[in-house]
């Protein structure tokens, strides 16, 4: 179990990167941490690995307080955490097998046992035939597989992944995430994935936390967070294309169908609206099955405000989240987002 209590990190010069982070990640969970750049994700991971120490607060992994151990104990604590990097960071001078064996060499495992474990790990990540290849001879996805095998070599309890798929294409990303889930199921390890890609969270994570300005703004099981329309994280997790220009007086109905709705299926929504005579064109929509539950997000563009209100009433009755938005509200939201994006770009 990973437990963070009121973790603060203030850099010399007065920049507060982490401002009281509280987070509990139970054993065997795949936990995604998302946030804009500058939110403190990198600092958080450096504190979790013990490469950097928190200014105050405590970080414990399986009961060991990372802030209190020094020297040899810190090195042992580090070995209980396997780390997967965005740029993999394999040594070019070592073959895949030698890279995987590296943590075992450091831990002083004898050569024969090392060899056995490396063969096992290569098998586990599906690269048994590439043992003698150098990193330069491997594809991006294969390199990350070697990186994961290396992270798992010393049998850590925790796998920390820092943007593990950000340098990979979509198909390879899916394979790597599948591998991470499979490894969790087989080895029972706890996984923390830091990412800016919502797709990674949807595909791989059991739970998610949103880091904003150095503290956790929202944390919870993935489906709970998606269903919670009170935070912007829900909209970002199931994203729709930007709303097209609206004339003053026009309305939009934002709909979210979740596991809690009484609709058997998103498709049923349209027949229901037809039965009540309040139909509206769909401007954008997405339907996904996440952890066995159907999640649908729709933007409906009714002709007039009365229809919009009618749609809202019908849907809310069915336990579906529906919100009527006016042109002015949409514009205000877009402006706010643009400002945030511009700010991010400046950093």
């Amino acid at each position: 179990m990973i437990e963070l209590t009121q973790v603060r990190k203030v850099f010399p010069g007065g920049v507060t990167a982490l401002d009281g982070v509280d987070l509990t990640i139970p054993d065997g969970e795949i936990h995604g941490i998302v946030g804009r750049s500058g939110a403190g994700k990198s600092t958080l991971i450096r504190c979790l690995t013990g490469l950097d120490s928190a200014t105050s607060g405590s970080i414990t992994i399986d009961g060991v307080d990372l802030g209190r151990v020094r020297g040899a104990e810190l090195m042992t604590a580090r070995r209980s955490i396997g780390m997967v990097f965005q740029h993999v960071n394999l040594l070019d001078s070592r073959t895949a097998a030698k890279n995987i064996a590296h943590p075992l060499e450091i831990a002083g495992v004898p050569a024969a046992a090392r060899k056995r474990r490396v063969d096992e790990l290569l098998e586990l990540v599906g690269l048994a035939d590439r043992a003698e290849s150098y990193p330069a001879q491997l594809s991006g996805g294969q390199k990350q597989r070697v990186g994961i095998a290396r992270a798992l070599a010393a049998e850590p309890r925790v796998l920390l992944c820092d943007e593990p798929t950000s340098a990979l294409d979509a198909a390879t990303t899916r394979q790597i995430l599948e591998l991470i889930r499979e490894l969790r199921d087989r080895l029972g390890i706890t996984v923390v994935i830091i990412t800016h890609e919502m797709g990674v969270v949807r595909e791989a994570c059991d739970a998610v936390s949103l880091l904003t300005e150095g503290s956790i703004e929202r944390t919870g099981r993935l489906l709970d967070v998606i269903s919670d329309t009170s935070t912007p994280l829900s909209k970002e997790l199931i994203a729709l294309p930007p709303i097209s220009a609206m004339e003053p007086g026009e309305t939009l109905v934002e709909v979210l169908v979740t596991a809690g709705s009484r609709l058997a299926d998103v498709g049923r929504l349209f027949s229901l609206l037809a039965e009540h005579g309040v139909e509206a064109p769909v401007e954008a929509g997405t339907v996904e099955t996440i952890q066995g539950a159907q999640i649908g997000r729709l933007h409906l563009r009714p002709d007039d405000a009365a229809t919009a209100e009618g749609i809202r009433r019908v849907l809310v009755e069915q336990g579906v989240h529906a919100e009527v938005t006016t042109a002015a509200q949409v514009r205000a939201f877009a402006d706010e987002h643009q400002a945030a994006d511009a700010e991010e770009e400046n950093q």
Partner: protein
């Protein structure tokens, strides 16, 4: 034919039989002995420079500045001046200031800081992420220096060592002119002082061949260990 006119026909010059073989050996011994000392002392100095520096494992800005200035002083003194000013030190170390053994002292003093800087540059090229990844495995600094920094930078270090050896060859010629022996001494004493054009030509050709062999070997070794 003008160059062969002074002491009989080309290759019939007695210098070729009597002095040339010894001179070649002296140049090779001087370079090899100095190269060994430079590798043994310059490599650790380069590692120390990198790791005391801002991106190293143990940044110590004050110490780094002192070592760095000393290294730069060593590199900026013209070799001929360095050699003469080191004569007392050379006498103390090897008992004489003459002969190739004596020349090894100023040659080493001149080349160690040169090689150390090249090592530092090569180490700086190693991605900080690799060092961090191995640090995460709970590795000691000693392990990181040997297995990550030096091993990953080895192609560059070998390249730097080749450059150092080639520079050393030209330094040995200079050392030869003031009593160090070797091909440089031969070229100066016979080729220049006694107007033996053929001796001069032979020395130049031999020096070029030695440099070419060194460079070729260095490039090959560097390529063999480079898996990037």
């Amino acid at each position: 034919m003008i160059i062969a006119a002074q002491d009989g026909l080309f290759l019939e010059n007695e210098v070729f039989a009597n002095q040339l073989p010894a001179a070649i050996l002296e140049t090779i011994f001087m370079t090899a002995a100095t190269g060994l000392i430079v590798a043994l002392l310059g490599l650790p100095l380069g590692i120390a420079l990198h790791n005391l520096g801002p991106r190293g494992l143990a940044p110590r800005s004050a110490t780094y500045r002192v070592v760095s200035i000393l290294v730069d002083i060593g590199r900026s003194i013209p070799f001929i001046v360095l050699m003469i000013s080191l004569i007392p030190f050379t006498r103390f170390m090897v008992g004489t200031a003459l002969g190739w053994q004596a020349a090894v002292v100023p040659l080493s003093v001149g080349a160690i800081p040169f090689f150390a800087r090249l090592v530092e540059n090569a180490l700086r090229e190693v991605d900080a992420g690799k060092v961090e990844a191995v640090k995460m495995m709970g590795a000691s600094s000693r392990h990181i220096m040997r297995q990550v920094q030096v091993r990953e930078a080895l192609p560059g270090i070998v390249g730097g060592f080749t450059v150092t050896l080639v520079a050393l060859i030209s330094y040995t010629a200079m050392a030869g002119a003031v009593g160090g022996g070797g091909l440089g001494a031969l070229a100066y004493n016979y080729g220049y002082q006694r107007y033996q054009g053929d001796t001069m030509l032979a020395c130049v050709v031999l020096l070029v061949i030695i440099v070419a062999i060194l460079q070729w070997t260095g490039d090959r070794v560097s390529r063999t260990i480079d898996h990037r």
